[in-house]
Amino acid sequence: MELKDLLKDLHEKGLQQISAVDQINKLNEIRVQLLGKKGPLTQALRGMKDLKPDERPEIGALANVIRDDLQNKLDQAKQHLEQEAIQLQLQKEKIDVTLPGNKRKVGTKHVINQVMDDIESLFIGLGYQVVAGPEVEEDHYNFEMMNLPKDHPARDMQDTFYITKETLMRTHTSPVQARTMEQHDFSKGPLKMISPGRVYRRDTDDATHSHQFNQIEGLVVDEHITMADLKGTLELLAQHVFGSDREIRLRPSYFPFTEPSVEVDVSCFNCNGQGCSVCKKTGWIEVLGAGLVHPNVLENAGIDSKIYGGFAFGVGPDRFAMLKYGINDIRDFYLNDVRFLEQFKGE
């Protein structure tokens, strides 16, 4: 056979082989077989030396074309087979994406601490210090400094867990304020503080009473503090906790440590003030007590009440949480049933 025909024949057969291949490793064999040093094409080209010089360029060109074409076809076939293989693999690896995921458990913050942290963050943003104090207090700080002298009716023995005549479980976090006021250097600026913490009352535990609960009290003392400042501050608080469209209402009240004293209601978030069972049909929910600091309280802490004045407020995070989430038994907070704890997803 003439070399030219031989080449064409090689080309033909090579193409057939390539198109018949269905495995990548076989394709490699074919590549070696066709184009390798011992392959027929190379062999054929070796026969070029026997040709006449004028025939050589034509045959050389033809050989190159054939080699390039085979090379291309081989590459295409390879690509094709690779694609197929991947498709096959992907098909095999298909999973049921609706099967449940493997969960790593994350713990929840106690709902009362969620509420407390939320309130703390508001006041930190407003420039308040967060101050802690002892839970076992002296009568002096818990009562006397707060304008509740020994025979004051509001400090009935029965409501307080006394430990000795002079020490007790604090009944509110006001003693922290008393301690802080005593220490504060007003030449360095106003006193703005909140005191969160656990407090204790001598109560029988039931749906609405707990012998241990929590409080956040706030106090601002400076030269020009007004009732209007208190109102503005509590409005922020109510809106921060219960929603930005809440309104508040102040009503006269009585606490020994403030004068004037107010009870603060927030417009009912359940019925928007229309009246429902949550707000006992009044449209308002009582949420906290507040007032201007009683001059005796300032004087007791060594602060000149003629120059300085202030406001104070007290919040019950337990009650806030109950209102906010519709919890109707305060004891639930302290049972730590995981079915309760894990319902509250907040931070």
């Binding site: 106690h110 023995m157 006394y162 109560d203 029988t204 241990q212 503090i225 009503r251 006269p252």
Partner: protein
């Protein structure tokens, strides 16, 4: 205090509905927490008159009554009440009526006899048992014969049930509204009115009261005011209906005209009164003094009380006849035979009255008022009012004059204030005229001296004594709703958590990220639980007067509380529980310390699985090492200097003696970890439970590790594995220490990757396999160097621990 709108209307013109008044009063002064409509839900209840009465043929207690109800024909009604009689005007619930508890009355047959309706007791139309006069307690109500009652008309107006009653929930400082007159002042000021009161006018006999009777107060502190009046020739009988209505609408039971009058004056003036039967007194004198310790007193309620010298008593010559300010005595009580009455109007020491009422558990209307203070300006007038009423309602003869044992200075309070002071405190700009107008509305008089307002406050507002009190009066009448809303304007302050607070929070956040839920348990617990799980000796702190045994001692550990929580969950089929608590324990190293030291702790407890059974993984129960891993990571997160070690311990009796450790930071114990003792766990009905507790105050006090960035080394590390046979009692720590000491400075990590006992390992031995990592941070480490160190490690393990290299 229950405020009858009808009574109030006698003193104030009421321009608004009771609901509006209640709303306005709530935001202006006194919270109105209830509006009561006595006839609410009742209907078709009329006055009937029993025309004839015959016994029911088939019953020994039923009567068949023909009852006129204002229609042409009388109604036949069968009645079982024992007190039913011909001629009585009674309460008739007609067929179709609604009585108490929404009960419907229908025409019916009673033992074969037709009955059209029902004759009612007061209870059956909604009266509280406590206010029903004794004579009608067990039968139907009968209208008094001497009252004008029209048959067929609704009973509601005749019984005062058409009234509306507001409950004034007065704060302790506003006890001035615990009388109708005080309440009238309050409501009138709200409507910018002056209340109109009549002053009692007592027709007196010529005979002087003090010729027949005297009194004496031992100590004016006990009774700053003490006054009596004598009324003779009284006729004790039921009060007229108008008076009874005022009482029962206010929750007080009508008894007889004399007692009712004292109660009426109490409600009207807020001044508690008492009436003694003069003849039963024996003596012609009353004395106010301290009781003697052990002295006994039989009160009106039939109970006998043993008194102390802190109680105030009123005595005749022989014995206490009244526990002052709280309750009168049995021996001198008013009864049907009483002829001469001694009326008493006084002011008793509020603190002593409160303590007496508390001590003897006698919370009476009188005590409630004396405790909070009363209007000392009307003590005298109230006595006159009572005397006048006894004269009119009991035909009494009032002897001339009040017998005065003591009397109070009646100077009003004067408080000075400036307009600037008021506006500065409120953040307002209220004009002087407006402020003066507010004071005048309240019945205070104002004199202007330069820029100072001199405000004279009447004695009926004894809660007011300082400028801040006046500011409160101004703002409540001015209106809290009119106050602007502002924020304090002052020097900027920086808010934030202290380092300590942030540290406590970080620990909590870390444990949550490890899957522990946060718990809050009680600080007060039982003696046993308080001192369980403790490492250091401490005296317990006990509350003086606990509510229950469950909450008596302050805790010395947090674990007990968490175990209670776990047990609660497990009992409710919540078997996989991981909880932590951050809180304080109350340590007292010396029992003489005034207050315990409050130490911040962080504790955790886990029971159940760490890995739940899923479609792809097997369940795995928690073990000691799971929790130890958590604790190791937690402590690591604190980033403190020092070497942590775990020291096996048997010192905590509630823990498994073979599975518990003290956590040591260098030589200091900072906590413990362990498996709860199986016996203790069983008591709590808990399966295997692992607990730990860390003393955060101790950890916080340690020095922080410096945080300076160390670049990751570019040079490769080389690992070598070693498996050894060692006696079972050789600890991992000992092996670890040995390796570290021998391995040289290039050792960067030791990892225990296998422990094996069983086939191929001699008894009492275990096989432990470690992977050691070496790295030189400065240059590439050669095998030769590593081999050299590794050989030293193997030698050391053999020589020091007697290990066999496998």
């Amino acid at each position: 205090m229950k405020i009858s709108m009808k009574w109030l209307a006698k003193y104030v013109d009421l321009p608004e509905s009771p609901q509006k008044l209640a709303e306005r009063e709530t935001v202006t002064g006194i919270e109105v927490d209830e509006i009561i409509y006595p006839a609410e839900g009742l209907k078709n209840i009329v006055v009937g008159q029993i025309l004839t009465l015959e016994a029911h043929p088939d019953s020994d207690h039923l009567n068949i009554c023909q009852v006129a109800i204002g229609e042409q024909q009388p109604y036949q009604i069968v009645c079982g009440a024992p007190n039913v009689a011909e001629g009585q005007k009674v309460i008739v619930a007609l067929p179709g009526a609604r009585i108490v508890n929404n009960q419907k009355i229908k025409k019916s047959k009673m033992r074969g006899v037709e009955s059209r309706g029902m004759l009612c007791s007061l209870q059956e139309i909604g009266f509280n048992e406590n206010v029903v006069p004794d004579e009608f307690k067990d039968g139907i109500y009968v209208f008094p014969e001497n009252e004008t009652i029209t048959v067929g008309e609704s009973v509601f107006p005749y019984l005062g049930m058409d009234d509306t009653i507001l409950n004034f929930d007065a704060t302790p400082n506003r006890a001035d509204v615990l009388g109708m007159r005080g309440a009238a002042w309050e409501v009138a000021s709200m409507y910018d009115q002056k209340p109109h009161f009549t002053v009692p006018d007592v027709p007196e006999e010529t005979e002087m009261a003090d010729s027949k009777f005297t009194n004496e107060v031992f100590d004016n502190n006990l009774a700053p005011t003490y006054r009596n009046r004598i009324v003779t020739n009284v006729k004790v009988q039921p009060s007229p209906l108008w008076l009874q209505i005022y009482l029962w609408n206010n929750g007080i039971k009508p008894i007889n005209n004399i007692v009712d009058i004292t109660n009426y004056v109490l409600l009207d003036y807020g001044q508690p009164l008492h009436a003694y039967d003069f003849d039963k007194l024996g003596s012609k004198k009353l004395t106010v003094r301290n009781a003697e310790n052990g002295e006994t007193f039989k009160a009106l309620n039939d109970n006998e009380y043993e008194l102390t010298d802190q109680d105030i008593v009123i005595v005749n010559d022989e014995q206490a006849v009244s526990l002052a300010g709280v309750m009168g005595g049995q021996s001198t009580s008013i009864d049907a035979q009483t002829k001469t009455v001694v009326l008493e109007s006084a002011v008793f020491d509020s603190i002593r009255v409160r303590k007496t009422a508390q001590r003897h558990n006698l919370r009476t209307e009188a005590a409630a008022r004396f405790e909070k203070g009363i209007d000392v300006a009307t003590t005298q007038e109230a006595l006159d009012q009572a005397a006048q009423l006894v004269q009119t309602l009991a035909d009494g003869k009032v002897l001339a004059g009040q017998v005065v044992g003591s009397q109070t200075n009646l100077e009003p309070t004067i408080v000075k204030i400036t307009i600037e002071q008021i506006n500065h405190a409120l953040g307002t700009n209220i004009k002087q005229e407006e402020i003066i107008a507010i004071f005048e509305r309240l019945g205070f008089t104002v004199q202007v001296e330069a820029d100072i307002l001199v405000v004279t406050v009447p004695l009926r507002r004894w809660d007011i004594s300082i400028p801040a009190d006046l500011i409160e009066e101004v703002v409540r009448i001015y209106g809290f709703d009119k106050l602007p809303s502002t924020l304090p304007v002052s020097t900027q302050t920086v808010g934030g958590y202290t380092t300590q607070q942030q540290f406590l929070r970080n620990g909590k956040t870390f444990l949550r990220s490890l899957g522990y839920d946060e718990a809050i348990s009680y600080a007060l617990t039982t003696e046993e639980k308080a001192q369980a799980f403790t490492v250091e000796q401490s005296t317990l702190t006990k509350v003086d007067w606990p509510m229950t045994r469950d909450h008596e001692y302050l805790r010395l550990n947090l674990v007990s509380g968490l175990l209670d929580d776990l047990a609660y969950n497990v009992a409710r089929k919540q078997t996989n529980v991981a909880l932590f608590e951050q809180g304080r324990v109350f340590v007292k190293s010396q029992s003489s310390a005034v207050r315990p030291t409050e130490v911040e702790m962080l504790a955790g407890a886990i029971t159940g699985t760490v890995q739940e059974q899923t479609w792809e993984t097997k369940a795995r129960l928690v073990n000691f090492y799971d929790v130890k891993g958590d604790v190791e990571q937690l402590i690591n997160s604190f980033n403190k200097q020092g070497r942590i070690s775990y020291q096996a311990t048997t010192s905590i009796t509630q823990l498994h003696p073979g599975q518990s450790a003290l956590i040591m930071m260098d030589d200091q114990c900072i906590g413990f970890i362990g498996t709860v003792h199986p016996v203790y766990a069983q008591q709590l009905k808990l399966p295997v439970t692992i607990v730990f507790q860390l003393n955060l105050d101790k950890i916080m006090a340690l020095t922080d590790q410096s945080q300076i960035y160390v670049p990751a080394s570019k040079f490769p590390s080389i690992t070598r594995d070693v498996a050894i046979l060692v006696p079972k009692n050789v600890t991992n720590e000992a092996i670890d220490d040995t390796i570290r000491q021998a391995a040289g400075k290039y050792l960067t990590d030791i990892k225990l990757f296998d422990i094996y006992v069983g086939t191929g390992v001699p008894a009492k031995y275990k096989s432990m396999a470690y992977s050691l990592t070496f790295q030189n941070k400065q240059e590439t480490l050669t095998d030769a160097v590593v081999n050299q160190h590794f050989t030293k490690v193997q030698t050391a393990l053999q020589n020091i621990l007697g290990a066999k290299i496998r």
